[in-house]
Symmetry: C2
Subunit: 286 residues, 2 copies
């Protein structure tokens, strides 16, 4: 059982120094509250509403930036882990919308968002690697960033490769679902948790920024796909205690034979990785 | 725009003649109400709670059974389509948990459930073909049966191959979700509709049968993943008018560049069709 704290922070747009301080304070506060897995939003060090690619580049940092050492120091005392999003200046000179996994020893992994949402492609380069599953002191962490979640292949891939918990730093632009419904991203996260028998943490941001509002949909979801904790508050924190090792059992409760992974039929899923033009596919099927 | 009627029927267990009459009456009633896509539950001609494989075999019929001609006749007058589940006696002598697609001309396609739930494997043989996308008078229909829905590769595959609407005859055993939440299968269906920009119809059954109760979760879901119509009533019908051609537009509303399919990165999804042992995958990633 670990305590998870997902911090729905409101970064100060384009103020790296302020966000370094705010995020480090949030990690310390989460650790003080007993959390060993501390999550923060996408692009927590920069803000999201870039005026230009140049502005994003001016706010990008490398994984050697001292903020990550500060986070590492803060979680070291509980043998914990931080996952958060940041604008990454790559060693190739390109700028990525990345997420970092940090434990007490420092940076364990950096993942570069593979699916860029809308105008993000004008600002960032998309990552070219599959999302990582990282062995950490709190379990095997799979990492996605925001829109990646909307591609069920990504959550499936992480779960198949052994993730105990999928952590998703996000910036979800405000939507208005029908009365009584969750925002779409939460519905997608709940479905992904259920079909993969995997825990999932989505850490959204809060606060308007250059006119943009956010869903403030931060949530911790259990292996049955139900929301354990959430917060709609500006700068709120969703806190839950969760046994992530339950994710390793893919058998279906109350059945004799059901197994979420054992029941898969990968030989029938070829269209997912080798899509055809629909008209060609229909013609061939005749 | 077509009217869809999903009939949450309660078959009479092991009474083929009664279910032939009930289902044909339901098709006629739906057509009278203006529906051109008429959906009925999984195994509507037999019931679900088989005492043995022998009982299932005794209730299985071939696609040449006159009931399908009766349904065809009923929908012919509106150039409509019926999708429903039945226990199929295959020409190979095996028994399948199948779904049939019928239009005014007769049987267009039969799909054999590929993912058998729990003890169904003691009664049925699993299908070995990917689910079909069938050109019909009401659009391109993709077909799944019940538990198939819980494998997001299946909905994805159908949408990639051009389905306008995914139709899922089901028998969902009763569950108790947390207060305010849909049953898990509905959450999964909503997520699948949203991420694939595809319409989806789930037709559950009702009525206790040999002690088993059901979710009665029948619903019609639009291309944004929201529920257009549902019914929790015994023998209720979910009716909705829906433009299924909207499913052919995968661009994301209110964005400049967003496209649910154009944004995919199939080269990163290899684990979905070629899964490795998680421990081997983690070792290789080090």
């Amino acid at each position: 059982m670990i305590r998870i704290a997902a911090n729905q922070l409101s970064p100060t747009m384009a103020d790296l120094a302020a966000n370094v301080e705010m995020s480090t304070t949030a990690v310390r506060r989460s650790v003080s509250a007993g959390a060993r897995l501390v999550v923060m939003p996408e692009l927590v060090l920069s803000g999201y509403m870039f005026a230009s690619a140049e502005e994003a580049r001016s706010l990008a940092v490398t994984p050697q930036h001292p903020v990550f050492a500060a986070w590492a120091q803060a979680v070291a005392e509980v043998d914990g882990v931080v996952v958060a999003g940041f604008a990454e200046l790559g060693d190739d000179g390109l700028v990525y919308d990345s997420a970092v996994v940090v434990d007490g020893s420092g940076v364990l992994a950096v993942y570069r968002k593979a699916h860029l949402w809308d105008r993000e492609r004008l600002v960032f380069t998309a990552g070219d690697a599959e999302p990582p599953v990282v062995e950490t002191p709190v379990g095997r962490i799979g990492v996605l960033v925001c829109y990646d979640l909307e591609f069920p292949e990504m959550t499936r891939s992480l779960a198949l490769r052994g993730a105990d918990v999928i952590v998703v730093p996000t910036n979800w632009p405000l939507e208005s679902p029908p009365a009584g419904e969750h925002v779409p991203e939460v519905v997608i996260a709940m479905a992904a948790a259920h079909v993969n028998h995997v825990a999932l943490v989505c850490c959204d941001r809060s606060g308007p920024e250059r006119g943009q509002k956010w869903n403030q949909g931060t949530c911790v979801i259990d292996q049955q796909g139900w929301i354990l904790a959430a917060t709609a508050d500006r700068n709120g924190t969703a806190v839950a205690d969760l046994d992530v090792s339950v994710s390793r059992d893919k058998s279906t409760a109350d059945t004799e034979y059901g197994d979420a992974f054992g029941d898969r039929r990968p030989e029938l899923y070829g269209a997912v990785t080798d899509p055809k033009d629909p008209d060609d596919a229909l013609a061939a099927a005749k």
